[in-house]
Symmetry: C2
Subunit: 258 residues, 2 copies
């Protein structure tokens, strides 16, 4: 019987070369730390990638939301707590809480994951894996004090603002474009000048399909709402390659504070 | 008086999302770990960025060579030892040794650094900083078992093979394009298919000038020598922007084993 607590806590150093011009952690690198925390937490409890690969299954990230009230500075350490909020047949909800060394809350994250069979690419019933051990780790009480995952809508009138090629460095161990790379590419739609005036309050990402090295990625931008102190944009990413029609791979909503 | 040993040793986890399709650490992320080790080592000993920023000075990376006999796998930890090999007036040589958990040597690194005044951009005499404390940390004995830094030559006939724009994510805390990003962009000149047949034995990088977000980077490739079991390429990177002529920013030599 696995005696680990439901909530895992992992410490990360804010590395200097993972910080932007303002000396604060890039949101993409923070996202990578969240994925690490999720990975360590599930591996430690027996239903992580390390076990799943032995039975030809894998976790697939479906949704990710990060909302920050403050970004940590270079050389600080942060703690990321993560826990399972819910388990349904085909999806599990995983939450995150990010705190600094003094215990102050910097932000939260929410995510949704599916499990698939790597051969058939079909979803797997989560309760069939490891005798349903995953459901013994659900914590419904732990607070995750941000709005729920949003649907991320991008209308057909969004404008094509950038096309990029995908390369060797973009590809992860599963052979797909790394989930965090989409976030970096989306945030790169705005310049350093923009980030001198705006901070990212929140990002919602819906992962729709996988892309591979060689695919061209198209970015369609839609200004959503603009208010005195905030601006909200949506972005659709599609892939284009020689053997299929243009296909949506990802949708993002980005909320900036001025 | 600073009582720390001349050689610093820093442990890094090979994070799963820092690994390529073969589940081995990307050379770019390894390079980032080397820069971290250099940064920690010099900060701990009083002549790092943390002190230098208080006196308007900074370290500038001039050369970096990494040569690997084996790349660590995801979830392994590696130790990076680093030490100063030499200090001259305007340059210091810093070496690296990379070992795995079992103590086996995976590879080595060599680097050359200058110190500049951040206002005037002029070089600073290293022996004038902190009463020359830096020269008390030189270790000439510690083995760094690879060929010396090479000059990296790229002829004028090298072919323009890619042009890319630079974005927010490329910029480091100094406001320049991150040194490691050049390595990633260079290695991205080859495809995943190529890396399924070749491993990177060695890379030599000469950093010539700084580039900034908004600059376009041009990559000029020259096949140098090709042998039964190895291939050697050189790459020149230039920057293009609206206010200066095309300028060389970086030269790389990449040695592949088949």
């Amino acid at each position: 019987m696995n005696e680990l607590p439901k909530i895992g806590c992992y410490k990360f150093l804010v590395e200097p070369f993972h910080c932007d011009f303002s000396k604060r952690l890039f949101l993409g690198h923070l996202g990578n730390h969240l994925l690490n925390a999720a990975d360590f937490h599930s591996n430690d409890r027996g239903y992580g990638m390390n076990y799943l690969h032995t039975v030809n299954k894998t976790w697939v990230l479906s949704r990710l939301t990060i909302e920050m009230s403050e970004y940590p500075l270079a050389y600080e350490t942060i703690n990321i707590e993560t826990w399972l909020k819910s388990v349904m047949r085909y999806f599990t909800g995983r939450n995150f809480k990010i705190t600094n060394e003094q215990g102050n809350t910097l932000g939260y994250g929410k995510s949704v994951w599916a499990m698939i069979d790597v051969e058939t690419r079909q979803p797997v019933n989560l309760l069939d894996v490891c005798n349903g051990i995953i459901s013994t780790f659900i914590d419904k009480e732990k607070e995750c004090n941000i709005d729920k995952l949003s649907r991320v809508q991008v209308s057909e009138t969004a404008s094509l603002v950038r096309s990029i090629d995908t390369h060797y460095s973009d590809v992860d161990m599963n052979g797909h474009i790394n989930s965090i790379k989409y976030i970096e590419h989306v945030l790169d739609l705005w310049s350093v000048d923009w980030y001198q005036q705006h901070t990212i309050k929140r990002i919602d990402v819906a992962y729709v399909a996988e892309s591979h090295q060689g695919d061209q990625l198209n970015f369609y931008l839609e200004p959503f709402t603009s208010a005195q102190e905030s601006e909200h944009y949506s972005v659709r990413i599609t892939k284009v390659n020689s053997h299929e029609a243009e296909t949506e791979v990802c949708r993002c909503a980005v909320y900036f504070l001025k």
